[in-house]
Amino acid sequence: MSLENLTLTTAALRLKPDQPLQESITAMIAAGLECAPVCDGDKVVAVLSLDDVLSDLVPVVARVDHGLTDLAFAGDSLHLLDKQLQQRLTLTTGVAAAPVGPQNVLKIDCPILEAVFLLSRRSPLPVIGPDGELKGMASSADLVRALIKRQEQH
């Protein structure tokens, strides 16, 4: 069993690489999406997730090996967050989004166990075909629903 056997959700939003990041984030929030594919034509070239947007606001010293593991002592540091967000919002979506990789997209022929593994860490994820074309979105809910349905059938 692979993702091909699942009914995928149609992607509600396709972002463009040259779209301003702020515009993309606003569109995602309006559509209630945590994650959206960035497409060049039909091909997925990157994935923008709100988790990544937030993680980019964390000071780099807390994101690298041997860095700070706790920032509670630094207070709200709104000054730093504002500065970091301001810098990020000047970027285009294509630059700010994470390039396509095994962590942020699923291939349509992905075995179901691997899909469970990846979606348990981040959900939803875009599903791509052999040429990188967008096939739809897969979420934890899609997968759990499919697995329960299978149980009921047996």
């Binding site: 000071p59 780099v60 010293v61 690298v64 002592f73 207070g75 540091s77 730093l80």
Partner: protein
């Protein structure tokens, strides 16, 4: 290394009847050359070199094992275990934040305070740990203050090597020298600490004129740093209290009078064991195993095995008589003049420690100085130990590759998006290192010669 020269007697039985001097020297040169290229992990190279010394017949296994200075190995391992446990308490970040707030978040004074804190931690712990704990806090503070982190990191690097010079346990060369020459913690406090303090003060002056006097931060950003809550940095109050108790107990062990005085290796291993016991006490067996396993896994085994390999490689050339010849050459070259020998050791160790890791150099120089014992009195030999210590420790400030702490800060800074260039660092660090050696020269000359 201590007493190895006396134990490794008897002619080596080298493979195919080859000359032990040639074989041991070839193994030594190749081992050190590969270490210098930094193309292979240094522990692998040192252990292979040690293996070749034994397989070629220069040393037998018994002699090789005797060559490993267990006092040095125990001291390093014990301190690494203590640091591995204590660093989780947040103690070091706590002190750094308190220091920054104590000077009202003034950028230059923060630079100075973080340098002082690093120097003190480096004197009591190993340099790499000290800089690894302080550098992330320093970068966060510079982010808040809208400052370039480079001057802060530069000062931290130099302070760690200067602070390490001050004590027996501050820098690996001192650990090796202390063990080889039977020097105590207080011997180093009395002999290297005073010059380390002077070098620290003199080093910070050009840093002030270079960057400090033009450092400005807005009231708003300084208020952000002042809003840091140092208490939040403490992740485990019980662990913090235990850490302070163990560090105090360890330092007491180093300075304790008879009948409590023991070799530093014994003290460090014993207090590390007490620390492990405190962490395990009253906990379920599974938690005890997890905590103990974690503490041991954070020991830098690469460094430990590097030392083991080096001790054996150096014992090989020592047994073949190479270091005796070197000692004789030094006497010939200097005419047996103590002043010239001391200054030669001081300057050569400083310059070489700038270019290569100071640990292999010191490991080689220890038996050379021991061999000079036939020419100089014990008091005069003591001058040579202090010259070696000052040269090797302070020489580490000359370039980014001069000491492990330098590379660790540079690596961390690069990951955090603030690259420290090799040449950029050396342009100021090398002259400052030379100044520190000039100060050391004056100190050695005036105090011992």
């Amino acid at each position: 290394m201590h007493g190895v020269a006396n134990q490794l007697t008897g002619a080596p039985n080298v493979l195919f009847g080859m000359d032990p001097l040639v074989v041991s020297l070839a193994i030594f040169v190749i081992t050190y050359a590969v270490i210098v290229t930094e193309r292979l992990n240094r522990a692998i190279v040192a252990m292979l070199g040690a293996g070749f010394m034994i397989f070629s017949g220069v040393l037998d296994q018994h002699a090789a094992f005797q060559a490993v200075d267990l006092n040095t190995i125990s001291l390093l391992t014990g301190m690494m275990v203590i640091v591995a446990i204590a660093q989780k308490s947040g103690l070091f970040q706590y002190v750094a934040i308190v220091a920054a707030k104590a000077v009202k978040a003034d950028p230059w004074r923060i630079t100075l305070m973080l340098a002082v804190v690093t120097a003190v931690f480096s004197a009591l712990l190993d340099n790499v740990t000290a800089v690894l704990l302080i550098a992330p806090v320093a970068i966060l503070i510079t982010n808040e203050l809208d400052q370039k982190p480079y001057p802060y990191l530069f000062s931290i690097i130099l302070a760690s090597n200067i602070g390490g010079t001050a004590t027996l346990i501050g820098d690996p060369p001192n650990i090796m020298i202390g063990s080889a020459a039977d020097l105590t913690f207080m011997d180093f406090i009395a002999n290297t600490a005073p010059v380390a303090v002077v070098v620290f003060v003199v080093t910070m002056v050009p840093i002030y004129f270079m960057w400090g006097r033009s450092m400005r931060a807005s009231e708003e950003s300084r208020a952000q740093v002042m809003a840091f809550n140092e208490r939040e940095a403490i992740t485990d109050m019980r662990l913090l209290k235990q850490s302070l108790f163990i560090i105090a107990l360890t330092v007491f062990g180093f300075v304790a009078p008879a009948p409590f005085n023991h070799e530093p290796g014994t003290v460090a291993m014993f207090t590390a064991s007490i620390f492990l016991l405190l962490r395990a006490f009253g906990r379920p067996m599974e938690d005890q195993s997890h905590e103990t396993h974690r503490a041991f896994s954070e020991v830098e085994w690469v460094t430990i095995f590097f030392f083991v390999g080096l001790f054996i490689v150096v014992a090989g050339i020592e047994r073949a008589g190479v270091l005796e010849i070197v000692a004789e050459e030094i006497i010939t070259l200097t005419g047996g003049d103590l002043t010239l020998v001391a200054l030669l050791i001081l300057w050569a160790s400083a310059v070489l420690s700038t270019i290569v890791d100071n640990i292999p150099f010191v490991a080689t120089m220890i038996p050379v100085i021991n061999n000079l014992g036939s020419t100089f009195s014990p008091d005069e030999i003591m001058t040579l130990w202090w010259s070696l210590s000052l040269g090797a420790c302070l020489g580490g400030n000359g370039s980014l590759v001069g000491a492990s702490a330098n590379l660790v800060v540079a690596g961390f800074a690069e990951r955090a998006g603030h690259r420290i260039g090799f040449v950029q660092f050396m342009l100021l660090a090398f002259p400052l290192m030379l100044v520190s050696i000039v100060i050391s020269t004056a100190y050695v000359y005036l105090r011992y010669l």
